[in-house]
Amino acid sequence: MIELGKYAGAVLGAYGVSLALLGGLIWQTLAANARARRELEKQERHG
């Protein structure tokens, strides 16, 4: 484990929040894409 010293909270917090935000964005992007694809396929099969 890398020694972070007295600023461990700040460093881990910054990484944690940033990665969580990026993860949320990626998840939202993929979910929206999957939904759009599903609905489009349904519509094309249906119509």
Partner: protein
């Protein structure tokens, strides 16, 4: 063969689908390697371990500005040449830019707390980023408020043009309002002389990684928008039939 061929949605879908896996792989490799490498760098003698935050802060801040510029270019292409993919790309880019701005602000605040002893400083750089975030929010809100997709693209395009001028103007006005009292250059890449190679190379890698990450998110989101548009068109046709 010209770049405008990609303005055709079908062609765009085919090409972006083929390119996407490579971009995603590149983004994952560069971002993860860069962040892990950056995380394992030795502590700075002055900033201690907080120097590691730079590998998130600088790429995010850089992307936040570049994404707005990209939105400006695609909005102009839409307004001048009426290519739908261009307008949809601008729409797809805005939330990514907003998230990048928030990451830049938050990492800056977390870094500033131990370093400057305060979470927030009304410093020109920080303030202009906050203003940039406001412009992103306004832009996204306008997209979601207008129902007709072409009108929305037109209005947001005009807003993006006016907003760009004012974002730039605010940046200089803010410098006039409050001269930066802190070390501004220690964060920028131009200070390469002061930033040793130990930090510089992983930083370049994360910058590349964030760029590719943006590109892959942008491609996926634009594909989503194209599919939604096609779905709406099909449904409209069904209603008429």
């Amino acid at each position: 063969m010209s770049i405008w061929e990609y303005a055709n949605p079908v062609k765009f879908m085919r090409t972006s689908g083929a390119v996407l896996p490579w971009v995603v792989a590149g983004a994952a490799v560069c971002t993860v390697t860069g962040l892990v490498w950056g995380f394992s760098t030795p502590d700075d003698y002055r900033q201690g371990s907080t120097v590691k935050i730079v590998f998130l802060h600088v790429p995010a801040a850089m992307m936040a500005i570049n994404i707005w510029v990209m939105m400006l270019v695609t909005s102009l292409i839409w307004l001048i040449r009426r290519h739908h993919v261009s307008a949809l790309a601008a729409k797809a880019a805005a939330p990514i830019g907003a998230v990048m701005t928030v990451i830049g602000l938050i990492t800056g605040a977390v870094w500033g707390q131990p370093m400057w002893g305060t979470w927030w400083e009304w410093d020109p750089r920080l303030t202009s980023f906050l203003i940039l975030l406001l412009f992103y929010i306004g832009y996204i809100a306008l997209w979601s408020a207008v129902e007709d997709p072409d009108s929305a693209a037109d209005l947001t395009g005009v807003l993006c043009l006016v907003g760009s001028v004012f974002a730039l103007l605010s940046r200089y006005a803010v410098f006039f309002w409050n001269q930066g009292l802190h070390q501004g250059a220690s964060l920028s890449v131009q200070s390469g002389e002061r930033m040793s190679a130990v930090y510089r190379y992983p930083l370049y890698l994360t910058m590349l990684g964030f760029g590719l990450l943006f590109l892959s998110l942008l491609l996926v989101r634009t594909r989503t928008e194209i599919r939604r548009r096609r779905l709406a068109a099909l449904q409209a046709r069904e209603m008429r039939a």
